[in-house]
């Protein structure tokens, strides 16, 4: 089974974080460690730029509507994701709980359907 782990978090302050700061380095190190620990189960994973860089596209009556900003303006924004391979939901939840972002933000775990 594949699961998507969608990592949501409060972005405020994240944008102007200094990449040389100890704080930033610690976050990176935590994600590196997570990536090493679950290397055999992580199918894909990427961080995302801040939601202020997002553009929303909708096609209505053949017309493309383009809007600045994310789909939903909420306190916690999608900040990155992993696709992981797990035997069942329990295993996926265990991996998700180990994602560093889960400690302060929220990780949504969604099964990826198998249409094969």
């Amino acid at each position: 089974m594949k699961y998507a782990c969608l990592i949501y978090g409060d972005e405020s302050g994240a944008e102007d974080m200094d990449p040389t700061s100890a704080e930033f380095q610690a976050v990176m190190a935590a994600y590196m460690a997570f990536g090493d620990k679950y290397a055999s189960q992580i199918v894909a994973g990427e961080p995302l730029e801040a939601s202020s860089t997002a553009t929303t596209v909708q096609v209505r009556d053949g017309k493309v509507l383009t809007t600045d900003g994310p789909f939903a303006e909420t306190k916690e924004q999608l900040g990155g994701f992993y696709i992981v391979e797990a035997a069942d939901l329990d295993e996926a939840l265990k991996i998700a709980a180990d994602i560093p972002g889960a400690a302060h933000g929220t990780v949504e775990v969604r099964p990826v359907p198998n249409f094969g």
Binding site: A87, L89, L93, V109, P111, G116
Partner: protein, 429 residues
């Protein structure tokens, strides 16, 4: 063969075997919806055949065998690829020995116990809402129909049906496992399972809607499930505490309802009608729990029930000890209902004014305004000292109850208060 079972008898047997057979089929198929479909097919066949051929000696084994055959047919008909064909082949191999389902044998008891626990853990998975967990447990593990569940929760059948469909879809789509959880999370998950079992028991005991006061079958099923969990976690004090609690409460089921089906409060109950064997079994479970030396809310509640069970009358009950136990319970579980029971215990331990003052807290009124016992307990404590206040509280209780026997009881009490008569019996709910 003459004298086959009638439709009602077939339904009763199916009902009794449902959860065990379903658990076995889920174990075979790894899918709840597939297992239910196969069992529904088998039940359909039983309804046709048993009245003619007679009731099988082992109806559960008969249903399992027929359901497996139907499941194999369904798997082969479906175009869902190699996995299903392989599963059908494996099941066929297992079925090969059984020619006639009348000759099918029951599975080993410990195997069956594990299958049921696996199903129970899936139904009580924290990834589902609590409402869905309760509904699924009632449907799949306790074998209630959708109609019965909707009646128990005073909800439209369509709502319950949709909740079940959604929960089953999530179990399948998200691969919620049918498995006894690993040790690292077992205690935590058992805690959740106990909560759901307790809710099921309460639903049976309070039977919030309809004419019946106690759904004995639901209570008995909840006790059976609690025993399964306690067997699995032999060293877990709270699991034995839950078994003790449910047995002790259930021991009073006969005395809690009078000849016309009306509610009889604890203080008014004919204690000779309490189930002595079940009390003994409850005490034994409590002792076993206490020996494990890990106190918790179920054990404290069981200890309170044990004090009631040991008392020859309400007056001779050790209310001081009960009051102390409620105080301890509130350190673990400070819910409004526990606070309410604590207030009643304070009053009955000798300080009626202090108890009533606790009941007058705005927090309680706000949280328990829709709860019958909050108003009826207040009314009962006020009855002797303030008949007018008691009358208002009885009316508030009447306004919120949906149980017929409770309604009749409350109307009688109200009439007594209005006539300035004694309430009859000691003040305990």
């Amino acid at each position: 063969m003459a004298g086959g079972p009638c439709g009602d008898e077939v339904a009763a047997v199916v009902r009794r075997e449902w959860s065990r057979v379903l658990a076995t089929l889920v174990g075979d198929l790894g899918d709840l919806a597939d297992a239910e479909d196969a069992l529904a097919d088998a039940v359909e066949e039983a309804v046709r055949r048993w009245p003619i051929r007679g009731l099988p000696e082992r109806p559960g084994a008969w249903l399992t065998t027929v359901a497996r055959r139907r499941a194999i047919d369904r798997l082969r008909r479906s175009s869902a690829g190699r996995d299903k064909a392989e599963l059908a082949g494996r099941m066929q191999a297992r079925l090969a020995e059984v020619e006639d389902p009348m000759d099918a044998v029951d599975p080993d008891a410990s195997l069956l116990r594990d299958e049921q626990l696996r199903l129970l853990f899936a139904c009580c998975h924290p990834a589902l809402t609590v409402e869905a967990q309760v509904a699924l447990t009632l449907r799949c593990v306790a074998g209630l129909s959708t109609v019965e569940i909707s009646r128990a929760f005073v909800q439209p059948e369509a709502t319950v049906a949709q909740r079940l469909v959604r929960a089953k879809r999530k179990i399948a789509a998200a691969a919620i496992p049918f498995r006894i959880p690993p040790d690292s999370v077992l205690l935590e998950r058992c805690d959740q399972v106990r909560t759901i079992i307790y809710l099921v028991f309460n639903e049976g005991y309070e039977a919030s809607a309809g004419g019946e006061l106690v759904r004995t079958d639901l209570c008995a099923e909840a006790i059976r499930l609690a025993e399964l969990v306690a067997e699995l976690l032999a060293d877990d004090a709270e699991s034995h505490g839950l078994v003790a609690l449910l047995r002790l409460i259930h021991s009073r089921r006969e005395a809690r309802v009078d000849a016309v089906g009306d509610l009889v409060l604890l203080g008014d109950q004919d204690r000779s009608r309490w189930d002595g064997a079940l009390i003994t079994a409850g005490q034994a479970a409590l002792e076993r729990a206490l020996r494990l030396d890990a106190p918790g809310p179920y054990q404290i509640q069981a200890a309170i029930q044990a004090l009631h069970a040991e008392a020859p009358s309400s007056e001779a009950t050790d209310w001081r000890q009960i009051e102390l136990l409620y105080r301890r319970l509130r350190r673990h579980l400070d819910t409004p209902v526990v606070e309410l029971n604590h207030a009643v215990a304070v009053a009955l331990a000798g300080d009626r004014d202090a108890g009533l003052a606790m009941l007058d807290s705005p927090r309680l009124a706000e949280r328990l305004g829709g709860y019958t016992f909050f108003h009826s307990a207040r009314a009962r404590l006020l009855h002797e000292v303030d008949p007018a206040g008691a009358g208002a509280a009885y009316r508030a209780a009447i306004a919120v109850t949906s149980s017929e026997p409770e309604l009749r009881f409350l109307r009688r009490q109200l009439a007594r208060a209005e006539r300035g008569e004694e309430p009859g019996g000691p003040p305990v709910g």
